[in-house]
Point group: C2
Chain length 347, copies 2
């Protein structure tokens, strides 16, 4: 059993903790959290030993939240740390991980140079095997890399011009906006997403523009892709269908044409926290003309990187040398690909 410590128990950290605890080859030995809020209560309820800053023991215990120890204590019982702290805190924390010779998985909010390799399970699992520091790229980058990797593998990608319509804030972020605006986010070209894709798919010609809008549920990507050869729509659909973590949705027979409706299905089928780990690609919006492809896809910012973190843990620990086998294992446990109208995508 790989003993995993989760440092940072917010939107991403709590999901990774739950996903780790469902696997049979790893376990959560504890979570580290700085604030005594409702998520600390939920951690206790789920049975995760709670580690907090030494100078805040009293704050937690005064609220009736039992504390197990400090960050040092958590590191001393962990084989691997998943650092899901806010942007740039991971880089600070890394000093401690290096000092204590403990392996760590960072998130996409950190710069690429925090780690030995930027990671996507489909695209470059093998590069991360046995490494000490790995960075799972961000939600948007994960969504882009999955679909671009498979198109590049199957047909060769000549160029990508993409628009990223970002959710303005996560559901729990009550102080963040925009509330009534479309924000150029960032106000320059390319957005960092294009650069981040190249930390994994180094040779791809990609430019992205991003705007943020007043919604909390999912991002949407509108991608215009030039391939190196002519293809049919059937070819592209086949490539997408046969790839794990891609969900095709046909609005014609499901009626789903929005992020809120796909979330409604996730609620209906009992997905934990309505999490969607898959790229949600609208099949009837997919258009192919010669070597030109249009893809519109949804990416749930809270969940899409969760399976990637599980695979990264396996790669770093060296227990599994095949990315495909790790993904199959992860996906089976998280029931990825199981939608009312679809069969399991992985075979």
């Amino acid at each position: 059993m790989i003993r995993v410590g989760i440092v940072g128990y917010g939107t991403i950290g709590k999901r990774i903790a739950d996903a780790v605890s469902k696997q049979d080859d790893m376990e959560v030995v504890g979570v580290f959290k700085t604030r005594p809020n409702f998520e600390a209560w939920s951690a206790i309820k789920r049975g995760y030993p709670l580690y907090v800053p030494e100078d805040r023991f009293a704050d937690f215990e005064k609220n009736g939240i039992p504390v197990k120890g400090s960050l040092k204590d958590l590191l001393s019982v962990s084989d691997i740390v998943v650092d899901a702290t806010p942007n740039k805190v991971g880089k600070e924390n890394k000093k401690m991980y290096v000092e204590r010779k403990i392996k760590a998985i960072f998130q996409g909010g950190e710069k690429a140079d925090v780690a030995d390799v930027s990671f996507n399970a489909l695209a470059n699992y093998e590069e991360a095997i046995g490494k000490s520091y790995v960075r799972v790229v961000s939600c948007n980058t994960t969504g882009l890399v999955r679909v671009l990797y498979l198109l590049d593998r199957d047909y060769g990608v000549r160029s990508v011009r993409g628009t990223i319509v970002r959710r303005g804030a996560d559901p729990k972020e009550v102080k963040k906006g925009p509330l009534n605006s479309i924000v150029l986010d960032p106000p320059h070209i390319p957005s960092h997403h294009a650069e981040d894709v190249k930390t994994i798919l180094r040779h791809i010609d990609i430019v992205t523009v991003a705007v943020a809008v007043p919604t909390t549920l999912m991002h949407v990507h509108i991608l215009n892709i030039r391939l190196r050869s002519k293809v049919s729509k059937e070819d592209v659909v086949k490539s997408l269908e046969s790839t794990p973590r891609i969900l095709l949705v046909n609005s014609g027979f499901t009626g789903i044409k929005s992020t809120s409706e796909i979330i409604e299905v996730a609620r209906d089928i009992g997905r934990s926290r309505y999490d969607i780990y898959e790229n949600v690609v609208w099949e009837d919006t997919l258009a192919v003309d010669g070597d030109e492809v249009f893809i519109v896809q949804g990416v749930q910012q809270e969940a899409i990187v969760v399976p990637e973190n599980i695979d990264a843990i396996r790669a770093v620990s060296g227990v599994e040398t095949s990315g495909r086998r790790s993904m199959m294992k992860t996906d089976k446990v998280l029931r990825i690909g199981e939608w009312p109208w679809s069969k399991l995508l992985l075979v």
Copy 2:
């Protein structure tokens, strides 16, 4: 086993179906649905036999959705129908229920005269025992009746002046607003909620004003209540704590001061579809001065009436003559009252 047919499988109907299927004294014999959309897929996935209008069999089957029969077929295998169709369709459907001598539970979107009695489990379970037609009042009315019933029972309510801040649309309602406005909904006083409360608590002096705002998660009620006697805050807290389906939330030690954060907890603890069946009362916003009480509470419009429907089924069928016993049974199965910081409220 009470054989329950669900007519109308949308926001409310699908939740009632799931709640019925979890009880040990009733079962879902089928659901009736008019449109072949993603909710039809989810019904099939959950194993509910699907009944559809006779002239639409082909529409469903063309989309690969297996159909069991027509509405008449569903009625012929049901002891009781729960009608969760859109407003005013229930009244039309009632003719058929009367003709076939089948008992029915209607929802708050219908006018009170559709039924023999308007229903809230806490306030008037006993009135519904053995009746043929019962109407479970709407989400807002349910939230109001629960808290006003208990205050009236314990201290006597002299008057209620309430503001209802309504969610603009349900999460899946992509075509409904408001998107950037505060709408007087309705633009007259009182709003119908006050009148609706009186269908159950006939003697209460209540005036409500309602506005709709751009959010999908929950309603919030701000209630100013005059009691018949002076009380302390501790008294009121004790009354609330000892009443089923009331959840007290302390923002001081949970950090929760918004509807989105309470929904986040529901996601974290694994509530199906993040459903909240309880009135969510902010304990530290509760203020008492002599005979005057301020209560601020959240009401999740999709879920709060679900346990009431289960109790209504038991009352109408006559299998349970105690409202309290029915509520205890319902609440145990739906895990109502189980929050990270609370014990089960019912003892």
